[in-house]
Symmetry: C2
C-alpha cells in the first residue's frame, strides 16, 4: 500500500540509514574537495542514498548557495523557428553535459515582467537575445544571477558579450552575389519588429560587403510573408533606374516569400532576379528553384556559448569570447 502523499527523502534519512552524520552525506555526495572520506563510509552513504532513492532538494541548495544550477534563456515570442529550435536543443545538451539545466522562457505578452521569471528561477546565468537594460541587470544580480550573456544584438554595447557575428551572414550573402557578377543588390527586411535584433546585423554585413566591393549600398525593402508583399518589393527593385538584379533575404522564409512573389510578378529566378536566403531551414531545399542560403553551425555555436558561459561562471568574470570563425557556410543551390 503506497501512501497517497510521498514523503520526501532527505539527507537526514540517508545519514540515518548509513549510520553517519548529515554533513558526511553532503561531503560524499558533493565530492567536497579537501575532505577525504574512507572508502567504506563513502560506499555506505552511496548505497543508502541509492536504496532510498534520494534526490537532493534543489530549492534548499539554492537557498543556501543563493543560486541554482539553472541557465535561463529568454526568447522573444516570434523567432521560434527551426533555426532557433536547433540552437536551443544544442545549448540544452551542452549545458546538461556540464551539470547545468537550460530552460527557456518566452518573453512578452506577460502581465508581470520578465523579472518575475528570474526571481522564480534564481538562475546562475541568463541568456538573452537582445541587450538588457541596466536596471533589469541590477535586479538580476540581486536575484543571484552571476552571468548575463547577450546572444544577439542590433547594437553591441558594454554588456553585449558572446554576441553571434550575424553580420557575417549578410557578408557571405552579398559576397556570393557579387562573385556571381551582380552589382546592384536589394535587401528583403523582415516585417515583425521583434526580429530587428537579428535583422540589423545581417543587413549591416550586406552593407559592408557592398562597400568593400565598391558597389551601391543595398536597396532595403520590408517584405512580409505573403506573395503580394514580396511582389510589390520586387516590382520596386526592378523598376529602379539602376535595377536590382539580386536580393539578400533576411532568412529563408522571407526568401520563400520572394520566390512566391516573383512567380506572381512573372519574374524568373534566378535569371531575372537572384535570391539568397539564410539559416538553411529544412524546407529551403524544397523551394523551386532550391534556395541558395547560408547554413549556421548550431552545434559549434552552442559549444562556444556553453564554454564561454561556464568559464564566466567559474571565473566570476566574463572571458574573451572564443573565435567564432567558421560558424557559417554558404550553401549554393540554383536560386542565386
Amino acid at each position: 500500500m503506497v501512501p497517497k502523499t510521498q514523503k520526501r527523502v532527505t539527507s537526514s534519512d540517508v545519514a540515518r540509514e548509513a549510520g553517519v552524520a548529515r554533513s558526511t552525506v553532503s561531503y560524499v555526495l558533493n565530492r567536497t574537495p579537501h575532505q577525504t572520506i574512507p572508502d567504506g563510509t563513502r560506499r555506505r552513504v552511496l548505497d543508502a542514498a541509492a536504496r532510498l532513492g534520494y534526490t537532493p532538494s534543489a530549492a534548499a541548495r539554492t537557498l543556501k548557495r543563493g543560486r541554482s544550477d539553472v541557465v535561463l534563456c529568454i526568447v522573444k515570442p516570434w523567432p521560434l523557428g527551426s533555426a532557433s529550435g536547433l540552437l536551443l536543443a544544442e545549448l540544452t545538451a551542452g549545458f546538461d553535459a556540464v551539470g547545468l539545466t537550460l530552460v527557456t522562457h518566452i518573453e512578452g505578452a506577460g502581465v508581470r515582467g520578465v523579472e518575475a521569471v528570474w526571481n522564480e528561477i534564481a538562475p546562475a546565468a541568463v541568456l538573452t537575445y537582445s541587450p538588457v537594460d541596466p536596471d533589469a541587470e541590477r535586479t538580476m544580480r540581486a536575484a543571484g544571477v552571476q552571468c548575463v550573456a547577450v546572444l544577439f544584438s542590433g547594437e553591441p554595447d558594454g554588456s553585449a558579450r558572446f554576441v553571434r557575428p550575424d553580420a557575417r551572414i549578410g557578408l557571405l550573402q552579398a559576397q556570393h552575389l557579387v562573385a556571381a557578377g551582380h552589382a546592384r543588390i536589394g535587401y528583403a527586411y523582415p516585417e515583425p519588429p521583434t526580429l530587428r535584433d537579428f535583422a540589423e546585423p545581417r543587413l549591416e554585413g550586406v552593407r559592408a560587403a557592398c562597400a568593400e566591393a565598391g558597389i551601391a549600398a543595398p536597396e532595403v525593402r520590408t517584405v512580409a510573408l505573403d506573395a503580394e508583399s514580396a511582389a510589390a518589393a520586387i516590382e520596386h527593385w526592378r523598376g529602379m533606374d539602376d535595377p536590382v538584379t539580386a536580393v539578400c533575404a533576411y532568412n529563408d522564409e522571407v526568401a520563400q516569400a520572394l520566390i512566391a512573389g516573383a512567380r506572381l510578378a512573372g519574374v524568373g529566378i534566378p535569371n531575372d532576379l537572384a535570391v539568397i536566403g539564410a539559416d538553411d531551414i529544412p524546407t529551403a531545399r524544397l523551394a523551386s528553384p532550391p534556395l541558395t542560403t547560408i547554413a549556421i553551425d548550431h552545434a559549434a555555436e552552442a559549444r562556444r556559448i556553453v564554454h564561454d558561459v561556464t568559464s564566466a561562471l567559474r571565473e566570476g568574470v566574463a572571458v574573451e569570447a572564443t573565435d567564432p570563425a567558421d560558424l557559417f557556410t554558404t550553401v549554393v543551390r540554383e536560386s542565386a
Copy 2:
C-alpha cells in the same frame, strides 16, 4: 558608490524599515486570508517594500512550501516548429496571467535524465508532449509536482489527461478530400521518430474518416523532407492498382515536400494529385499552389490548458477536460 556584491533585501529588512514583524510583512505581501491588517500598517509595509526594492526569494518560498510557482513544459528536440512556438507563446502568456511562470526544457541528448530538471526546478506542474512512465511520475511527485499534464499522445492511457484531439485534424483533412470526390487516399507520414506522438492520432483520424465514408483505408508512406523521398512516395501511390488521388500530409512541411516531389515527378497538383497539409504555418500560403491546410487555434488551446491545469492545481485533482470543439479550421486553398 555601489557595492560590488549586492546584498539581498530580505523580509526582515522590510519589517525593520516598516517597524513591524516579519510575519506581518509576509501577511501583507501574500494577502493571507483570514488575517485582517489595518490599512495603515499595510501601507507602511507596502511602502517600505517598494522603497527597498524588495523581491521575495523564490528559493525560500519553494523550500518552505515544497513547490514553486513554475510550470515546466518538456518538449522533444524536434518539433520546435512555428506551430509549437505559437502554442508555447500563448501558454506562457496564459500562465503568466494566473501568476505561474512557464519555462520550457528540451528533452533528450542529455547525459543526466529529465529527472534532473524537475529536481532543479521543483515545478508545480509538468506539461509533457507524450506519456510519462509511472516511475518518472513517482519521482516527479516526490519532487513536489502536483499536476502532470500530457498534451499530446499517440496512445491515450490513464495519465493522459488534457490530450489535444489531433485525430480531429486527420478527420478534417480526409473529410475535405472525400467531399471533393476522392475515394482513394494516401497518408504522408513524417520521418523523424520523435514526431510519432503527433503523427499517430492524426493518421488515426484519417483512418476513421475513410471508414466512415466507406472507402479504403489510407495508404501510408513515410516522406522525408526532400523532393526525392516525396517523389518516390508519389510514384508508389500513382502506380497502385487503385491509384491514390489525394494525400493527407502529416503537416505543412511534409506537404511542401510533396509539392516539390510532384514537380520532380512531373505530377500536377491538384489535378493529378490533391494535397492537404496541417498546422497552417506561415509559409503554407507561399507554396505553389498555395496549400490547403488545417489551422489550429493555438490561443483557444492555450486557454483550455491553462484553465484545466490551474483547476487541477487548485482542486488537487484533475478536472474534466474542457470541450475542445472548435480548435481546428479547414483553410481551403488551391492544392486540394
